[in-house]
Amino acid sequence: MDIPYTVEVRRDTGLTNGKIGIWLFLASEVMLFGALFASYILIRVGSASWPRGDTFLDVPLATLNTIVLIASSVTMVMAWASLMRNRFGTFRLYMGGTILLGLVFLVVKYFEYSHHLHAGELPRTHNFLAIYFTLTGLHGLHVFGGMVVNAYFWGPGAKLWKTNPVWFTNRVEHSGLFWHFVDLVWIFLFPTLYLL
């Protein structure tokens, strides 16, 4: 049986089911990260002293990662726009760029983490480091998850473009919504952890 409302919109909602599904998922993600942000506030406010992020963390590297992630959001939305213009080749370029930028983000994060681990700055060392590793670790997992889905649409999943281009375009839009959400979370994580 075919999945209903993947291409045509429902008359009652004006949306495809996939669009509603991804937004409901993102709403749950807001609560997940929200709970951790609330924990951060609780720990910070309850602490007698709190270090500025730049005493532990590398701000230039994190700034680079912010630029990389914002750039990846642009390539992601351009990948979708390319499909809307019927330019599959351009879609592949932009989607490939998005995946590569995601990889750059994770590699930079790896260097940051390895520096901390070699310096003995572990989650158990300080509450700041505990919440830093928790928040950035969860965020990094989201980047990785987004990359896996994007790689699927860049590779084997792209076969759908030949048989049902509108469905494929909708799928790319939905994975893009997730990717932009991951970017949005980092936009708040960066000043919260590194600059304050």
């Binding site: 291409v7 045509e8 919109v9 909602t13 004006g14 949306l15 495809t16 669009k19 509603i20 937004w23 409901l24 709403a27 807001v30 609560m31 929200g34 709970a35 942000f37 609330a38 506030i41 609780l42 406010v45 309850g46 730049d54 701000v59 700034t63 912010t66 630029i67 914002i70 750039a71 959001s73 642009v74 992601m76 939305v77 351009m78 979708w80 726009a81 499909l83 809307m84 213009r85 019927n86 509108v166 375009t169 909708n170 839009e173 893009g176 919504l177 932009h180 959400f181 970017d183 949005l184 936009i187 708040f188 960066f190 000043p191 919260t192 600059l195 304050l196």
Partner: protein, 110 residues
């Protein structure tokens, strides 16, 4: 404009529409870069914590709004999505307010 809106055809009018969107995406990208520089530059002044937090959150909120409105197309979305997000915002605010209850050694929850 979302792909849902253009589910059935990709006409030349539609292509022109997407071209406009692409120009907006590039403008938003430049704005996001500029705001990132502002965020880092302000942090170098070592402002008092309450002011630094306020400035950082205002700039981050502007950046977040740009991403949500233009990259995630929330500026032209359907009512049901807005309803889902409104409910999310209510619960998110409640979640952020929870730590406030612990102020003054939990005076508000005794």
């Amino acid at each position: 404009m979302t792909s849902d809106h253009a589910a059935t055809s990709m006409t030349s009018d539609h292509a022109v529409d997407i071209d406009k969107h692409v120009r907006v995406y590039i403008t938003v990208f430049v704005a996001l870069m500029a705001l990132t520089i502002v965020t880092v530059a302000v942090s170098r002044y070592h402002l008092p914590v309450p002011i630094a937090v306020t400035v950082a959150l205002i700039v981050a909120s502007i950046k977040g709004s740009l991403v949500a409105c233009y990259f995630m197309h929330l500026i032209s979305e359907k009512k049901l999505i807005y309803a889902v997000l409104a409910l999310t915002v209510v619960f998110f605010i409640a979640l952020m307010a929870l730590p406030v209850l612990t102020v003054h050694d939990g005076f508000w929850i005794r």
